[in-house]
Symmetry: C2
Subunit: 264 residues, 2 copies
């Protein structure tokens, strides 16, 4: 494709990139923003997501030839000078590589579970509202070969710009779905033969002694509140034993330890 | 102590809190900023650091009585309304609890090593310039009972405001020191009988198979570059095995896995 030069920040062809930060908060009607070379590469390689356009700082174009070769021939690639980029995005975009992707139609949790292999590891975030933590959980899930992320309806969107960036693109790689009926979801996993472990500082089993079967669901709660009592009562609870004077671990760090332990 | 009401953001008694973000970047002549209730509690309980003053939003004072009881009787506690707090700090301070602490005289690495017990676990960050990562490494070090952090001279200051906050105060709890002569430092640890493990994606031993002796030093490098080749050649290298398609782990997550593995 031939890059298209844009000089006016208000050019309608780059309207989707205007005021990126504010637009994140307001939602973007089925679209998301991918940032940086690694994430762009994953977006262009994805079979689940489609890129609608790319916006690149002129001095970054040279390093992107190999990545851009993966783009469809008719995908618009807009090239801008630094000042124009900042004026479009509404703040200083030092990375200089942006793309708009289109979200897929949300999967029902059940159909995502149908598609998983006989041996499966799924991550189940509950109430994770912080985009950093969500992104890190996806990154760790990808690093340790989790097959899917199934989250409850109170979690934040993993396709929020910052979550994708922190995930280093894992949010575009690992299939995910949401569920609203938590009791129904745990019952469904029982029927499908999943071990269901809830990570909790007050868990009954030390994770060093926890052994998984063929199918495992790992539930992660928020740092402050943790998982709801009703879930803890229902599931097997697993703890990461910590130092007595300082038993505080970020949920992303806890997910790294647990996923590493249960990965095969 | 009796709280002192401040109504003028330019009152000289709160000058140390002015434009907090910019001042972080410029350094603060032997002082640091502690933020939030948990960190303030650790500062007031510390034998290594002294608080110089406290600045609190008026509506937070009620919840702090127990923490403030740990303060010396002559420690000034300034109380302000929300607008005054924001005008002093230079941005919206929703936490509403700040304190200025005084740094201790830096320890030479050797005297810190002298003070460690016969069985010791130390963390050795090399080139960690990101305050989030530094804070997370301290938090994980505290959670898994590390005795000290010894960092090379290219690391960032763990007493930077954001690093302390991300560490949830662990930066005030775990003793730390810097070294400049890396070769001399590794030789020193050899003499003191430390196992020296370098965490690296290309490490020779899978961490699951790594066994520590009485004294262990765990080296952590940056995410992009990793540890310098000279160090990797010199030390035992340990890897965290990851998924083939996505072998990318944040250094904080890697430190959590390794410290959990080696903690006792």
């Amino acid at each position: 494709m031939d890059p298209i030069r844009i000089d006016d920040p208000r050019d309608p062809r780059v309207a989707a990139y205007l005021d990126i930060r504010e637009r994140d908060l307001a939602g973007r009607q089925g679209r998301f923003v991918a940032e940086g070379k690694v994430v762009l590469d994953l977006l262009l390689s994805s079979r689940r997501f489609t890129a609608e356009s790319i916006l690149i700082l002129e001095n970054r174009l040279g390093g992107l030839e190999e990545v851009l070769r993966k783009a469809q021939a008719d995908l618009p690639v807009y090239v801008v000078a630094g000042g124009v980029m900042d004026a479009i995005a509404g703040f200083h975009m030092h990375r200089g590589i942006l793309a708009i992707g289109r979200k897929e139609t949300p999967h029902p949790a059940g159909s995502l579970l149908d598609a998983l292999p006989a041996q499966a590891l799924i991550v189940v975030p509950v109430g994770i509202a912080n985009h950093d933590n969500m992104g890190s959980i996806f990154r760790n899930a990808a690093a340790f070969g989790a097959d899917a992320v199934l989250m409850d309806g109170t979690c934040c969107d993993p396709l929020y710009r910052k979550a994708i960036r922190v995930s280093v693109g894992a949010a575009l790689k690992i299939p995910f779905a949401s569920f609203t009926d938590t009791a129904g979801f745990t019952a469904e996993l029982d029927r499908r033969g999943y071990d269901q472990f809830a990570l909790s500082p007050r868990g009954r089993i030390d994770i060093r002694d926890a052994r998984r079967g063929e199918r495992l669901a790992l539930y992660l709660g928020t740092e402050g509140e943790g998982l709801p009592e009703s879930l803890l009562a229902r599931l097997q609870t697993v703890r990461i034993t910590m130092s007595k004077g300082f038993d505080s671990l970020n949920v992303a760090a806890a997910s790294a330890i647990a996923l590493h332990h249960f990965s095969r």
